[in-house]
């Protein structure tokens, strides 16, 4: 019984997909109404990338992040189709693109869900463009997600396969700083956490400190959280946000290179540093 129902759902999904294609002149496309701009993430970007690849403009990975590769592909498309070349996917661009290309939402989202490496060029059998992910962990999720396109899209929003990152930092760098920030200041207000992250970054730029993230964080005696092992607590999302804010240029500490908790600080020397301000329990200084 189960088998039959999922089969039916599959048929319905296909019919729906065909309908969408048939009516594509009618409602521009399956795109939502947004103007897609560089830096955007999400399902519209996946569709944009897939459609651009379908007609041979985009050669990168379909990952739902509008990066440089997508930008140039869209501009080339706009140029060939006589549209204003601005790298923005507005109404006209989306309509032209939808008319010129095919998009099998179910197929694309399914491959992304499974973590398969795949391409979506037109004129080639799509099944031949998949390089399956050899790891088995993901296969159990496919049962839930491939039943209908709508569901696949929904669950896809939760787990992005790629993300935007500030220039010069990897996800692991951010994670490492977030660990330090969380271990040092998890009881502090949000801006206190941003300030601690900013101090780490200020040290990175400073000639008086090591020049790598790990060098600054693991410098002996530099952070109590490193010394007592609290750095290995799992940081929450808030700590990560604080780190990203600091990397993107927010510095509530006023360019500080040191901070200390006046209640627990044992070193006399730290009190001789010129103080800038206090945030929460920490005094920030040069």
């Amino acid at each position: 019984m189960k088998g039959i129902s999922s089969k039916w759902k599959g048929v319905i999904a296909t019919v729906l997909a065909v309908c969408c294609l048939a009516f594509s002149d009618y409602d521009a496309s399956a795109f939502t109404s947004q103007v897609i701009q560089k830096g955007a993430v999400g399902d519209d970007v996946i569709e944009l990338q897939a459609r651009l690849q379908n007609i041979g403009y985009y050669h990168g990975k379909i990952d739902g992040v509008y990066g440089w590769g997508t930008y140039w592909a869209l501009r080339n498309f706009q140029q060939s189709f006589g549209l204003p070349i601005d790298g923005l996917a507005g109404f006209t661009t989306k309509k032209k693109l939808a008319d010129a290309s095919n998009f099998n939402a179910k197929f694309v989202h399914e491959q992304i869900q499974k973590g398969n490496e795949f391409t979506y060029y037109g004129g080639v059998d799509i099944e031949k463009q998949i390089k399956p992910n050899t790891n088995k962990k993901n296969t159990n999720t496919t049962g839930k997600t491939n039943t209908s396109t709508k569901q696949a899209t929904k669950s896809n929003q939760k787990t992005n396969t790629a993300s935007n990152l500030p220039a010069g930092y990897s996800q692991n760098d951010i994670q490492l700083i977030a660990n330090a920030v969380y271990g040092e200041s998890r009881g502090e207000p949000y801006i206190g956490q941003v300030a601690v992250a900013a101090v780490i970054l200020n040290r990175l730029d400073s000639p008086s400190f090591p020049n790598t993230i790990s060098g600054v964080i693991f410098e002996p005696g530099a952070f109590t959280a490193v010394a007592d092992g609290q750095i290995w607590l799992t940081p929450n999302e808030r700590a990560k946000e604080a780190v990203i804010d600091a990397i993107n240029g927010w510095d509530p500490s006023g360019n500080a290179e040191y901070y200390f908790n006046p209640q627990t600080a044992t070193s006399k020397w730290i009190w001789t540093r010129p103080q800038i301000k206090q945030i929460g329990k920490h005094i920030f200084c040069h």
Binding site: Q34, V35, Q37, G39, A40, V41, H59, G60, D63, G67, W68, W72, L88, N135, K137, N138, T159, N160, T161, A162, S163, N164, L165, A167, G168, S170, Q171, P189, Y190, I191, S206, P207, S208, P210, N211, G215, V216, E219, P220, G221, A222, I244, D245, N248, G249, W250, D251, P252, G254, N255, S267, W269, I270, P274, Q275, I276, K277, Q278, I279, C285
Partner: protein
């Protein structure tokens, strides 16, 4: 009988505990020795690097041929970075050792700048030669002091673990040859710092802090600052307000204001300069749960915010979406030229389009009306300086700060090689390739790949 059994069990227990304790003790010692060895290695390595550093600087003084000078200076630069690395591994953060690190970094900067220069066209001038001589002398002093400490460490079997304990506990009554020794090194170095700054060609990293000297306007009062903050925050009364003035160590005067909207428990924090009342940064700590706006609409909100707050002629050059937040980076546009040092960043919430934060730190530090000279080269001439393999997609004029900390007018080119995009800056006067950077692609989320 029972007594014997109890005695037997107790004996076993005591023996077991003893054995376990011994194991623990052994493990603890092994770990301590391991940590101690890491410190010892870093320390002896530092001393060794400073030895070599001094020798190498000495060598450069005797060199005449430009062809050997460049590699020698590069080598000096490399060694300073190794020595800095060693300092970073020693438990000296609680000890005032930053002057020595800065000294190392100064040597590094100087040797790098002279090494990358075309010494054939622009040989070392007299001032630079004198500076090299002074550096040689200073490196010698540091070497001497470090050797003294090293000798004492070896002779008296001093342990870094004890230093760390002493520093952490704040008790400095124990015999701390190491701490004293390093303090002497530090004093020796700080004696130099005055004489160095006299040299006009010498730009140390300290001068990067521009101290908001270009700000105009009157000093504002606390009350005015709070009013300004309320204007930015657009909150509903009742609002709890906290204002604090900056501490004595701040590089410029400011008020730190935090506003708490009691109805929603939303907090806004910001710093406003006393002079002129300019907003340095602003953060709203609201949690954003969903996205209703797209990035493009959000960017319009950011532009509108800038207009409302008298940030003029700014050009959006970067945008990115992080979950439910849009981040936008703006730079000044003057006569069609992008001024990269003047940047303002804005965060927009994608649920209602409100401003979640902005940071104008860089902007206020460097913004001023600039007299930008005419470019000596044409775009076409500049293009010839670019690697043939790059397909140029976009071009414009831009002002950037180069490796030598100078503001230079450049042609900016965006180009691609295969799947990668590059940003290339060609000096509009000298044709020098000032900067080439590979622009970041999105990074896969590894959790999904595992």
């Amino acid at each position: 009988m029972i007594r014997n059994v109890v005695i037997g069990v107790l004996v076993l227990a005591v023996a077991g505990t003893g054995f376990w304790g011994y194991q623990e003790h052994k493990e603890k010692n092994a770990i301590l020795i391991n940590a101690e060895n890491t410190y010892q290695r870093a320390f002896h390595d530092l001393s060794y690097q400073v030895d070599i550093l001094q020798d190498k600087i000495g060598n450069t003084l005797a060199m005449n041929s430009r062809t050997s000078l460049s590699p020698a200076l590069t080598d000096v630069w490399r060694i300073t970075s190794e020595a800095q690395n060693d300092v970073g591994q020693l438990p000296l953060t609680l000890l005032p050792f930053n002057k020595t690190e800065e000294f190392l970094s100064d040597i590094g900067d100087f040797s790098y700048r002279t090494a990358v220069r075309d010494l054939e066209k622009e040989p070392l001038n007299d001032k630079e030669y004198t500076r090299l001589e002074t550096l040689y002398g200073q490196a010698g002093e540091i070497q001497k002091e470090l050797r003294k400490v090293q000798h004492l460490v070896i002779k008296n079997n001093l342990r870094w673990m004890d230093v760390e304990m002493a520093l952490a506990s704040g008790k400095e009554n124990t015999d701390n040859t190491i701490i004293d020794g390093f303090e002497t090194v530090e004093k020796t170095v700080s004696g130099y710092s005055e004489s160095q700054t006299g040299d006009p060609t010498y730009t140390s990293s300290k001068q990067e802090n521009k101290n908001y000297q270009n700000l105009k306007g009157e000093i504002i009062s606390k009350k005015e600052a709070v009013q300004k903050a309320k204007k930015y925050a657009k909150m509903k009364e009742p609002i709890e307000v906290r204002v604090e003035e900056n501490g004595k160590g701040a590089k410029y005067e400011f008020y730190s204001i935090s506003l708490l909207e009691t109805g929603t428990n939303t907090e806004v924090d910001m710093d406003i300069t006393k002079k002129g009342g300019y907003p340095v940064w602003y953060i709203n700590n609201r949690d954003i749960q969903n996205s209703k706006l797209d990035l493009n609409k959000a960017s319009q909100k950011a532009v509108q915010f800038l207009k409302e707050n008298d940030f003029e002629s700014l050009d959006l050059f970067e945008s990115a979406q992080y979950d439910h937040i849009g981040l936008f980076n703006f730079v000044t546009l003057q006569d069609g030229i992008r001024i990269y040092p003047d940047s303002v960043k804005i965060k927009i919430a994608l649920d209602d389009g409100s401003v979640l934060g902005f940071s104008a730190d860089d902007f206020f530090q460097s913004h001023k009306k600039r007299d930008i000279p005419k470019a000596a080269l044409s775009v076409e001439e500049a293009k010839t300086k670019i690697n043939q393999k790059v397909t140029i997609m976009e071009e414009r004029k831009a002002l950037i700060v180069n490796d030598l900390d100078q503001e230079v007018l450049c042609y900016e080119f965006l180009g691609t090689i295969n799947q990668d995009t590059y940003r290339i800056f060609i000096n509009a006067n000298s044709g020098r390739e000032e900067k080439v950077e590979k622009l970041k692609n999105s990074e896969p989320v590894y959790e999904n790949l595992l």
